[in-house]
């Protein structure tokens, strides 16, 4: 330590604190997977730094927000800072998800780290809150419509839906009050909650020590007659004895941070942060699609209709969030190794498959109303008008013909070959399948034209 360093240290007494932090022993078998947590922390810092910079030139009112974002993009380094904020946000959602997954698979949420999990799960929800509120701020088309849909999803909750929606929007309508509110939540309420919880989370991680990777055979032979606390302390002490100083692990954390920063800069300088046309509440041809991390939930809404929807909102958003936060009290037991927790691993696999699958379906879904099945040569005029009915009645939302349309219902490319006209008619007017809506509202002429068209598909 140089003279200046000593001057400060004599006044602040930091070196002993610093040494006890970086020289403390951690289990020897922690490796690359344990960098996910520090990567998440790194991305949070990136978000805070760039976010603060963005507030210097941003105005949270509908009349000015979009212009101020254009202004940011035209200011030197503005587009870069906004690009970093945008891409780092997406990576943050990804990495906090991977970090959570890693902790669960490693069984690191178990005694004595239950509270660390609970705080971490709350942090995950806060990050999603950041994503949802930050999304609206540019006041472009994508922002506006994603917020219309998002707030309405919350508003569909049973009993409290209306109040939740008014709380989110700052009234019943989506406008000036909504934007001011989302901004305030995004830059004050959530960051304050985040900093407090991150503080507790990190404090717990340092006080408890990093969990050792689970072993199939314990590092010390179990001794009978010990309490849970004693047995844990004995085992963790053995892990630390065989362990390494924390600064060894920091090497990997540093490498991951540098890689992430390079990726973020590449994305910010390459594609940059997108900006749609200015929000237009009166556009009728915009196709609302959320950012990728909400696509799974958006896609899920296909499968629940009408009366079931409040139930879905309640189940997915409330019960699932509660289960997620309370995982350490539901997944108990002493075995931490994934191979000894087959049920928990099967459940994890199912959740991951579900999220990835729904995201994929959501990303590739054809927007209804945007597809028109074209006419083919040799069609009669009746069939042509039937095709008009088909295209305009929302059939393409769920059915494919020659590769165009949705996937929810059966492919109709060979409808006339597969089904009798009477069966098709029955399915249209009084469907047996609950997912198929009744088209009894079509006029007799429309119905017969449509049937003529469908039975002609062979």
């Amino acid at each position: 330590m140089g003279r200046i360093g000593r001057w400060f240290d004599e006044r602040l007494q930091l070196s002993s604190l610093f040494s006890s932090f970086v020289d403390r022993k951690v289990p020897g078998n922690i490796g690359w997977f344990q960098t996910l947590g520090s990567a998440t922390l790194f991305l949070l810092v990136v978000q805070i730094v760039t976010g603060i910079a963005l507030t210097l030139s941003y105005a949270p009112t509908p009349s000015d927000a979009y212009q101020s974002v254009l202004y940011i993009d035209s200011t030197p380094f503005g587009a870069l800072v906004r690009g970093i904020h945008h891409w780092s946000a997406g990576l943050l959602v990804l990495f906090i998800g991977l970090h959570t997954l890693r902790v669960f698979i490693w069984g690191a949420h178990r005694y004595p780290r239950e509270l660390t999990w609970v705080i971490g799960a709350l942090l995950f929800l806060i990050v999603l809150g950041f994503a949802f509120t930050g999304y609206l701020l540019p006041w472009d088309q994508k922002a506006y419509w994603a917020t219309v849909v998002g707030t309405n999803i919350a508003g569909a909750a049973p009993f409290i839906g209306d109040s939740v929606l008014a709380l989110l929007r700052g009234g019943e309508q989506l406008g000036a009050t909504t934007l001011a509110r989302f901004y305030g939540i995004h830059v004050w309420v959530l960051p304050a909650s985040l900093l407090i919880l991150v503080g507790i989370h990190l404090f717990a991680v340092i006080r408890q020590g990093i969990a050792a990777s689970p072993r199939r055979k314990p590092i010390v032979a179990p001794a009978p007659g010990l309490s849970r606390r004693e047995a844990y302390e004995r085992e963790y002490a053995a892990e630390k004895t065989a362990g390494k100083p924390f600064w060894h692990a920091l090497i990997k954390d540093g490498i991951v941070a540098v890689i992430l920063l390079v990726v973020i800069f590449a994305l910010a300088l390459g594609p940059g942060a997108p900006l749609d046309a200015r929000a237009d509440p009166n556009s009728t041809n915009f196709v609302p699609r959320p950012e990728w991390y909400f696509l799974d939930l958006f896609q899920l809404l296909w499968y629940f209709t009408g009366d079931q929807e409040p139930l879905l909102i309640f189940l997915v958003f409330t019960v699932a969030a509660a289960i997620f936060v309370l995982v350490p009290f539901l997944d108990r037991g002493s075995a931490r190794h994934p191979l000894r927790r087959p049920f928990a691993m099967a459940f994890t696999g199912a959740v991951v498959l579900g999220v990835v699958g729904l995201t994929y379906l959501g990303a590739t879904a054809t927007p209804a109303g945007q597809v028109n099945v074209p006419a083919t040569a040799g069609m009669t005029s009746t069939q042509l008008s039937g095709l008009g009915v088909y295209n305009s009645s929302g059939c393409t939302s769920c059915h494919q013909i020659h590769g165009l349309g949705g996937h929810t219902g059966p492919d109709l490319s060979k409808a006339g070959f597969r089904w009798e006209a009477a069966d098709i008619k029955q399915q249209l007017v009084t469907p047996k399948d609950a997912k198929m809506p009744s088209y009894s509202g079509l006029s007799g002429q429309q119905l017969s034209d449509l049937l003529e068209y469908l039975t002609g598909l062979k």
């Binding site: 509908p62 009349s63 506006y144 419509w145 219309v148 849909v149 309405n152 999803i153 508003g155 569909a156 209306d162 109040s163 939740v164 929606l165 008014a166 709380l167 929007r169 700052g170 009234g171 019943e172 309508q173 989506l174 406008g175 000036a176 009050t177 001011a180 509440p281 009166n282 556009s283 009728t284 041809n285 915009f286 196709v287 609302p288 958006f298 809404l301 296909w302 629940f304 209709t305 009408g306 009366d307 929807e309 927007p367 209804a368 109303g369 028109n372 008009g388 295209n391 305009s392 009645s393 929302g394 059939c395 939302s397 769920c398 949705g406 929810t408 809506p437 088209y439 509202g441 079509l442």
Partner: protein, 188 residues
């Protein structure tokens, strides 16, 4: 706190009970200060959830699904006879709206469907499911939602998909050949 409390000062009964009294009083005071500040802050922050639209007229729509800025002004949207019977047409008109602290004439889009020589219905152009924008493609007689495949006929009734209600309508009257809209209605 027991007298054997290792974290407390070693003191005889009088000093200890004074310490306890002071600490408890301070904790109570802290709670009172937090409540005095916190209650108005929370009440202000959540006012919209328990105090419904102080500015908005009573007749306005009860559901909040459509994001449309609302108005109870009487606004002409066009001559009835200029619309084709049964064919929806999209019209954007300026209406006086209250949006938080903003009072302005804002462009509001509506679908007008003429029913006969004396009657027309005017719809809000948002899906009743989650508020996505409804498209009426040229030549079609349906409103289709690009989000989850909801569709409606020209009466505003649901023909497919998840929407739980028919399309939202405006109050309509015909005045001197003009189609004039009033407030948006929750129920048809």
């Amino acid at each position: 706190m027991s007298e054997n409390d290792p974290t407390g000062p070693v003191a005889a009964g009088g000093e200890l009970s004074r310490r306890r009294f002071v600490l408890r009083s301070l904790a109570t005071l802290g709670g009172a200060i937090a409540a005095a500040l916190g209650l108005p802050v929370l009440a202000f922050g959540s006012a919209h959830a328990w105090q419904w639209t102080e500015e908005a007229p009573a007749e306005l729509i009860e559901t909040s699904v459509p994001p449309t800025l609302q108005s109870d002004a009487q606004t002409p949207v066009g001559k009835l006879l200029d619309f084709e019977v049964g064919i929806p047409r999209y019209v954007v008109v300026d209406r006086p709206v209250v949006d938080g602290w903003v009072r302005a004439d804002a462009p509001i889009g509506v679908y007008v469907v003429r029913k006969s020589d004396t009657e027309a219905v005017v719809f809000d152009p948002h899906c009743t499911h989650l508020g996505c924008p409804l498209a009426a493609t040229p030549g079609s007689n349906a409103f289709v939602c690009p989000c989850h495949g909801g569709s409606f006929d020209t009466n505003g009734d649901v023909t497919s998909g998840p929407p739980p209600h028919p399309m939202f309508r405006y109050e309509v009257r015909i005045d001197g050949g003009d189609v004039v809209i009033g407030a948006l209605q929750s129920e048809v």
